[in-house]
Amino acid sequence: MMNFPTTVPTEAYLILSAVLFGIGAMGVMLRKSALTMFMSVELMLNAVNLSFVAFARHFGRLDGQIIVFFVMAVAAAEVAVGLAIIVDIFRSRRSVDIDDVNWLRG
């Protein structure tokens, strides 16, 4: 007979966070579309955010939540610049396949 705890333990959140981070890392390694890789990076960022919030509750402190707030701001900036770069690459190569972008020169 499984005994369910009333509140979800912090460890459960950490395991879930690790699994989602792993899936995101798998996406970055497996996919070749720059857009999908980008989305996988977003998933990894969110998985880490979940850890931060779980620890914030665990220690009863707000600092973890504040850091998540900053991570979100940085992620927004990263998405804007990253998508601009992808659009620029697409203009010159007609492709977002990273195999087509294996040279540094433009």
Binding site: F4, P5, T6, V8, P9, T10, E11, A12, Y13, L14, I15, L16, A18, V19, L20, G22, I23, G24, A25, M26, G27, M29, L30, R31, K32, S33, L35, T36, M39, E42, L43, N46, L50, V53, A56, R57, F59, G60, R61, L62, D63, Q65, I66, V68, F69, F70, M72, A73, V74, A77, V79, A80, V81, L83, A84, I86, V87, F90, D99, N102
Partner: protein, 186 residues
């Protein structure tokens, strides 16, 4: 009850994440990622981070994903990606690496035996001890109230907050310069 909600949404989020990664159509990937972000908002509510849950939906599921979908449609790359041209033989190793990586990270959680006393995570039994912003006597559900978050953000973290505004300004300028139409082809 809380555990049931957590289990259901954990299953949904892991499934959505897997579909996002394995889906060959970038458009469907983006939509699964939106579903995933909503699951994260639910986790934030369960963890008492109400402000972050709202920000998660507004900023991530709203602004960031709309931008992402907009670019996918703009570039019209929603078709399935072609098979590998180079290094295709390395793909299975990517799966192995990711699974091992996740297992090692999750091992930290399992290693703590999921128990209250056996936990490797230190418990703060006395919330009034220690330095910094510790919420005195409030339960976990109280920890994310907007007032508390704002008080912390605009006192202790005021400088990083201001630096973030500079970062966002730089991102706006950078994105504008990058996608600007070249009048003359260099």
């Amino acid at each position: 009850m809380e555990f049931v909600v957590f289990a259901v949404f954990a299953a949904i989020s892991v499934t959505a994440a897997l579909f996002m990664v394995l889906q060959r159509n970038a458009m469907y990937s983006a939509l699964f990622l939106v579903l995933n972000f909503f699951c994260f908002a639910v986790f934030f509510i369960l963890l008492g981070a109400y402000f972050l849950a709202v920000v998660q939906v507004a900023v991530y599921a709203g602004a960031i994903m709309v931008l992402m979908l907009f670019v996918i449609m703009l570039l019209n790359v929603a078709y399935p990606e072609p098979p590998d041209k180079v290094l295709g033989f390395l793909r299975p190793f990517g799966v192995v690496t990711a699974v091992v990586f996740a297992a090692v990270l999750a091992g930290v959680g399992f290693g703590s035996k999921m128990g209250e006393n056996a936990s490797i995570l230190p418990r703060i039994s006395d919330p009034t001890s220690g330095a910094g912003i510790i919420l005195k006597g409030v339960g976990a559900a109280e920890a994310g109230h907007v007032q508390e978050v704002a008080a912390t953000l605009f006192s202790r973290y005021l400088f990083p907050f201001e630096v973030t505004s500079v970062l966002l300004l730089a991102a706006i300028l950078g994105a504008s310069v990058l996608v600007r139409k070249r009048t003359e082809h260099a």
